[in-house]
């Protein structure tokens, strides 16, 4: 009789603890279940990437196009350089005299700097000849930019005016 009275009293003291433990167990079970879900998804992702290697294939294809570019670049750059000098020399007829040309090669285009001397009587005639030369220069194939350098407008050559023209042209 005494023991039966003691059991309900002990239960009254312990039930809050049991409740807390049950809540903890439920939370941990939920966490374990979600962990298994994430692991399953991760395995699915790894299998997908291994059986359908998109990124690896893209890298191989990109390398193919890059190597084709590399193999063709030296000859293409040499031709573009020689051809541009040839065309500029062709249009540099009196009263325009080509003093120097510099070409700086990039991967897809090149920069050029021309030093020219324009022989004409008077500043207006010089400006007209220069404008005509610039038009012919800009009309050359693959040339997409050509402008006289502002700092060059003051130099005097031997009987003319010396200008520096900076520009850019495509390689192919």
């Amino acid at each position: 009789m005494t023991k039966q009275r003691e059991r309900p009293a002990r239960w009254r003291r312990l039930w809050p603890l049991v409740l807390l433990a049950v809540v903890s167990l439920l939370l941990h079970a939920a966490k374990w279940h979600r962990l298994l879900e994430v692991q399953g998804l991760f395995d699915q992702w790894a299998t997908l990437a291994a059986t359908r290697p998109v990124e690896e294939t893209k890298v191989r294809r990109a390398r193919f196009y890059k190597s084709r570019f590399y193999l063709g670049y030296p000859a293409s750059a040499s031709y573009a350089t020689a051809d541009l000098v040839r065309r500029i020399a062709d249009i540099s007829q009196p009263p325009v005299r080509l003093l120097a040309i510099q070409i700086d090669l990039g991967l897809h285009d090149l920069g050029f700097e021309l030093t020219i001397e324009v022989a004409a009587a008077g500043p207006k005639a010089v400006r007209r000849k220069l404008a005509f030369f610039l038009k012919r220069l800009r009309d050359l194939p693959r040339v997409f930019q050509a402008n006289p350098s502002p700092a060059s407008l003051a130099a005097e050559g031997s009987g003319g005016r010396v200008f520096i023209i900076n520009g850019r042209a495509e390689l192919s």
């Binding site: 979600r34 994430v38 294939t57 990109a62 084709r68 193999l71 000098v85 040309i101």
Partner: protein
């Protein structure tokens, strides 16, 4: 009596609250936080799998023909580079390469160091000395430690016995303009695979004189101060292809790739 019972009740209540707080702080809160993190990770993975499956649906995977094309392209790339034992051997190759193409050119100098211009034709050497500083700057610009645009082209293969090296070199010449331009056009056609980096040309009467700085890449089996640092990844460097480009979703098409062609300049009186 009542006070005693009240006190015991309050103490029990406090003890229960302390146990509840301990459970909440030490167990429930970290577990709920972890559940949140796992939920986000699950969402990310599901999205990634969905996107990847959608992309793979539009992707053309390589077949045997494409695999063979890619493998032969890699072999061609490796074969394109001269293989030498040392830097001096490569210089020797360059000399014989260039000397074989000096038709119509009386004066040609190869400059292996930025500040060493001799021996050579006096007029040409004097002209080069006036531009020594510019030549030195251009040599430095072509130094592989400063700039080498082709790193991403060459895969790092631990089985390769040779190492990729690149070296700047100068060439100076004077000749009639048509012959000089032919030389410049044919400059890269030889086995040394030289690439022009910079050119300066000055007409002199009916002739012209020029100096250029070029870069040569080669595979060297011995030690070399010109080794290229192969530390860049696929997407690094100057030659970049957009990884989302539609070009990479289809099988490679050689017709879409840049062409490798050697063209002659038009004749002197040509309108083109």
């Amino acid at each position: 009596m009542m006070t005693g019972k009240l006190t015991r009740f309050l103490l029990r209540l406090l003890a229960m609250l302390a146990v509840l707080a301990a459970f909440a702080v030490l167990d429930w809160y970290p577990t709920i936080k972890e559940l949140g993190r796992l939920r986000r990770e699950r969402g990310d993975l599901e999205l990634r799998i969905k996107d990847y499956s959608a992309m793979a649906g539009k992707f053309e995977f390589p077949n045997e023909q494409e695999n063979s094309l890619l493998a032969s392209d890699r072999d061609e790339l490796i074969r394109a580079l001269p293989r030498v034992e040392g830097d001096d051997a490569w210089l020797g190759l360059v000399h014989s390469d260039l000397q074989g193409r000096t038709k119509g050119i009386a004066n040609l100098m190869v400059i292996s160091e930025a500040d060493a211009f001799g021996p050579g034709p006096p007029g040409l050497t004097r002209w080069l000395r006036h531009q020594a500083q510019e030549i030195q700057q251009r040599f430095q610009a072509a130094d592989p430690w400063r700039r080498y645009p082709w790193q991403a082209v060459f895969p790092i293969d631990p089985e390769d016995k040779g190492h990729l090296a690149s070296r700047p070199l100068g060439v100076a010449l004077d000749a009639p303009l048509p012959e000089l331009l032919d030389f410049v056009n044919h400059f890269s056609w030889g086995d040394a695979r030289l690439e022009i980096v910079f050119l300066r040309l000055e007409p002199v009467g009916r002739s012209a004189r020029a100096w250029l700085v070029c870069r040569g890449s080669y595979q060297v089996s011995g030690p070399s101060p010109w080794l290229v640092k192969m530390d860049k990844g696929e997407g690094d460097g100057e030659l970049i292809i957009d990884p989302d480009s539609p070009l990479l979703l289809q099988k490679v098409d050689p017709l879409l790739a840049p062409r490798i062609e050697k063209k002659e300049l038009p004749p002197a009186d040509s309108p083109w």
